[in-house]
Symmetry: C3
Subunit: 203 residues, 3 copies
């Protein structure tokens, strides 16, 4: 799980750097957006759960990893473009791994089930939300193919398996594979949730 976490923060940092590049930010902005995208979800989760000190402050190497990944992305951006498919898989792994980690953290603090699920989702999607807000756009997680729904599905599956008596390792593994499959299928088939639209001329 730990090595998948490293893949996850790296992929998220790269997605942050790419978003910053689309906004013509300087390399410093790239580093900040990479940091926030990769570690922001976990930070919001820790604050929400009242879990201090916050994760990354105790593991400074994560800071170096995500900033390096962000800056490296500026160099290899054309290359990433060609590897877009690989990048989407990494990003999906990140989403699913973050969600499972978020569940585990809240579980270990004995929060109620709905809080555990929220914790998984916060960890999975808040980094991307912060990235989009800092880049001045409406967060894509609210509008695109199943993304947040994948986080939700993963969390519920993990908790259900645990409840059925499956060991934590197996529950993690099965949820991870199922979530990854669901996310990739959603991208491939352009699955979306029904949209709620109302005219903008009234409050």
């Amino acid at each position: 799980m730990f090595s998948i976490y490293l893949v996850a923060i790296t992929a998220e940092a790269m997605s942050g750097a790419l978003a910053a590049g689309r906004r013509n930010m300087d390399i410093f902005g790239v580093a900040v957006i990479a940091f926030v995208t990769a570690l922001g979800g976990g930070t919001i989760r820790d604050v929400t759960l009242g879990r201090f000190p916050i994760g990354w402050t105790q593991n400074p190497e994560y800071v170096y990893i995500v900033i390096s990944a962000g800056l490296l992305t500026t160099l290899i951006a054309p290359f990433v473009r060609r590897l877009k498919r690989l990048f989407l898989v990494l990003d999906a792994m990140g989403l699913v791994a973050f969600s499972l980690i978020g569940c585990s953290v809240a579980l270990s603090m004995n929060y109620a089930t709905v809080v555990v699920i929220m914790s998984g989702m916060i960890t999975g999607i808040c980094g991307g939300i912060l990235r989009d807000i800092l880049c001045g756009q409406v967060p894509v997680v609210f509008q695109r193919e199943l993304y947040a729904s994948v986080a939700l599905t993963v969390c519920i599956m993990f908790l259900s398996l645990k409840y059925l008596g499956v060991t934590t390792d197996i529950a993690n593994l099965v949820s991870f594979m199922a979530g990854l499959l669901l996310r990739l299928l959603a991208i491939w088939r352009s699955w979306r949730l029904p949209t709620f639209s109302i005219e903008s001329d009234w409050k």
Copy 2:
């Protein structure tokens, strides 16, 4: 006060869902925006005051209420439109109730007076600010009819009454009625605060 709190979070969740609908979000985005609008203000207040665990994590039923209210709103949106007047009253009740709750929380933690007032205002208006940021617009509370000013007035009135020796229940009741009246009058008469405008061509 408790039943008014339930009305308040329901009204806030509905206002969040309507805002999400204006941005064509999927039903998942609607649920998230409803959640953030209704419980975000209290969350920011609790974090600011260092009050852990955060309120809603100890009352999971609130999460179900606000998400249900948000999703339900997608079904009854045309109906809500006709009931716009009722909705504005509910929203005003929410604003005033949130502000009073924010004051009480900070008072019970022995914070200084100005912090108590800030706490009331944070609880009252931050949910709406988060909603607007996530929907990609400048927060309306900074531009429209007396809204945040109502929160401020309610907090100051509540503290003044307490200071004059009025019991907490009476102070709550009087402030609630006065705040509700002020807000509804402001909407009805389109009262606004003076605006500060400068040309945008200089820093």
Copy 3:
């Protein structure tokens, strides 16, 4: 250092008020943006470091100072315009002072070096980031002349001097002067970091 802190929050509050004025906010919005710009960076730092109660809640006079400064700015805006050069110097002093304070706070809590640096940068730049988000624009710190880089430089210089055995007072003083000089030079010469730009037609 303390009097410089007062100058810093005043300058930041004024910059917030000016930003609010460019968005035609009412005087209440001006007060909120002034407050968030001046005290938001320290608040995010305290939350990130798990340092409760948060600074300004224990020093209510800061709240009065920043709100007064914000409202006063609405009266003297044309005057500020003529004094733009003075204002930029105050703003630069604020940036550098905030960064040094952020480092000191994290140092006193025995955090790792990279966290100390992050703490300085968060304190220095997050107020401005919040201001820009609330005003609906992409944060300027990611796009303009050396701004965040100044915060970073100041933090690293301060820690290096401390590491070399220089006393805290001297380290603060030297870093402050150097940071101020660097920032003013950057404005004067329009120094920028290299920008990372990619076309917006791909994810």
